[in-house]
């Protein structure tokens, strides 16, 4: 089915995106500019989470939206437009990481200190967001992708599986490992959010994840 015959029942936002993409498919530059401005912030953020290299992120965002311009006619409406675009961004991001062949470790020093330091001191010193950022640096790009797509972008696990081109169980497993890793790095998350500097003991909620190791 041609993109011009597609309709969507996935809400007004998807309908608007689909309309723009249909215009992009006939090389309407004005529509592309609107779509670009709309997707640029969320793609930048998402790719920043996966790649962690600001100098690369801009290039990958541009690559992603260039592919959208080139391949708009190939959209088949099997998912939301945003899912399709994010899927392209994911592939581009992973390719960029493959090119680098290294895991970003720019905050490793702070985390090494974390092991020995008092938790509350660390939070006070580097700030809660930096602490989270450090924690996310310690999980794999695929796990970061699942975390970001779930908590920030608000995708369902089926949509994340579409974006990342993997089975649903793989998404759940990646999320499981990400949670376990984050739990070990941010054990007092709940208390820290409620009252930074006043960290409570871990009550075991996240650690109970160990029971669910074999999700696949």
């Amino acid at each position: 089915m041609s993109i011009h015959e597609l309709t969507t029942s996935r809400g007004p936002e998807d309908a608007e995106n689909l309309k723009l993409l249909q215009q992009v498919a006939v090389k309407d530059r004005a529509a592309f500019e609107i779509l670009y401005r709309k997707f640029h912030p969320q793609l930048t953020r998402y790719l920043m989470r996966i790649i962690r290299r600001p100098e690369l992120v801009e290039e990958v965002v541009s690559d992603t939206l260039f592919v959208v311009w080139e391949k708009a006619t190939q959209f088949q409406g099997r998912s939301r437009v945003s899912t399709w675009v994010t899927g392209i961004a994911y592939l581009k991001g992973i390719k960029a990481l493959d090119r680098l062949k290294t895991m970003p470790e720019q905050h490793a020093d702070a985390l090494n200190e974390y092991d020995a330091a008092d938790e509350s001191d660390l939070i006070n010193r580097i700030g809660l967001q930096q602490w989270l950022k450090n924690g996310l640096d310690q999980i794999s790009p695929d796990q970061r992708s699942v975390v970001e797509l779930t908590y920030f972008s608000g995708y369902s696990y089926q949509e994340i599986a579409d974006i990342m081109g993997c089975p649903v169980n793989t998404v759940k497993t990646r999320m499981f490992h990400a949670r376990r890793r984050l739990a070990s790095l941010l054990p007092s998350l709940e208390a820290a959010v409620a009252e930074p500097g006043n960290v409570r003991e871990n009550e075991g909620g996240m650690l109970s994840l160990g029971e669910s190791e074999n999700l696949e």
């Binding site: 530059r29 500019e33 670009y36 401005r37 640029h40 912030p41 930048t44 953020r45 920043m48 989470r49 992120v57 801009e58 965002v61 541009s62 939206l65 260039f66 311009w69 080139e70 809660l128 967001q129 989270l132 950022k133 975390v147 970001e148 779930t150 908590y151 920030f152 608000g154 995708y155 369902s156 696990y157 949509e159 759940k172 999320m175 499981f176 949670r179 984050l182 739990a183 941010l186 998350l189 709940e190 959010v193 409620a194 009550e203 075991g204 909620g205 996240m206 109970s208 994840l209 029971e211 669910s212 999700l215």
Partner: protein, 221 residues
């Protein structure tokens, strides 16, 4: 015993439910579970303190992720750069198309040249055939046409490569022949040829057949 089995099955079932709920919690928190899964999670949460704690932690984590790390990309700069890239890609595409068109033109030119060369050979062959003074005289009966007078016959002729009709026509004018019809679906022409009086029809036909580019030639009955 039955009671023990029932109790064990119930425990296993509860453990399975717990594992499923733990796995689904992130999407319970982001509110994307379907109705059935949502009900299943809610039911489990009502009786599981650990999962309720985990849910609360995930809500906090979601809040932190949503609030944190504002990334300000320069949209306008990025857009400008991408538009430039699109322009460049389109220019490249156009130039590739031009090269392809030129290549097709060149190919057509060379094919035409090859066909013209083939036709020239045909033309030369016909001319040689018409005016070859060294051709040995063959036995003539008394009732045969007078030498030099010649006779007109119709001939079917086909070529290895298609020959433009205009070029063929030109060749035939010069050999005092005419196109009666053709080419048909197989590219065969029907010609009216003037067989010179000093050459037998068989020799004439053989010479036509020997011309390079001629696929087959035969007199019509």
């Amino acid at each position: 015993m039955e009671c023990y089995r029932w109790g064990r099955a119930k425990t296993l079932n509860r453990k399975k439910q717990h594992e499923q709920t733990v796995a689904l919690l992130p999407w319970f928190v982001n509110d994307t579970l379907d109705q059935k899964e949502r009900e299943q999670v809610l039911k489990h949460l009502a009786g599981c303190e650990g999962c309720r704690l985990e849910r609360d932690r995930l809500i906090d984590l979601q809040k932190m992720i949503r609030e944190g790390e504002v990334v300000d990309g320069d949209v306008e700069f990025s857009l400008k750069r991408t538009m430039k890239r699109i322009d460049e890609a389109e220019r490249n595409r156009r130039s590739v198309e031009e090269v392809a068109t030129n290549h097709r033109r060149q190919k057509r030119f060379f094919v035409s040249m090859a066909m013209a060369a083939g036709l020239s050979m045909f033309l030369v062959g016909m001319a040689v055939l018409v005016g070859n003074p060294d051709e040995p005289l063959e036995y003539q009966t008394l009732t045969a046409d007078a030498p030099g007078q010649g006779s007109t016959r119709q001939m079917q002729i086909g070529f290895v490569d298609p020959i433009p009709a205009a070029t063929l026509r030109q060749a035939l004018i010069e050999t005092e022949s005419n196109i009666v019809s053709g080419p048909d679906r197989q590219g065969v022409y029907l010609l009216e040829v003037n067989v010179p009086g000093n050459v037998s029809q068989e020799v004439f036909l053989r010479r036509i057949q020997d011309i390079e580019g001629v696929k087959h030639a035969a007199f019509t009955p």
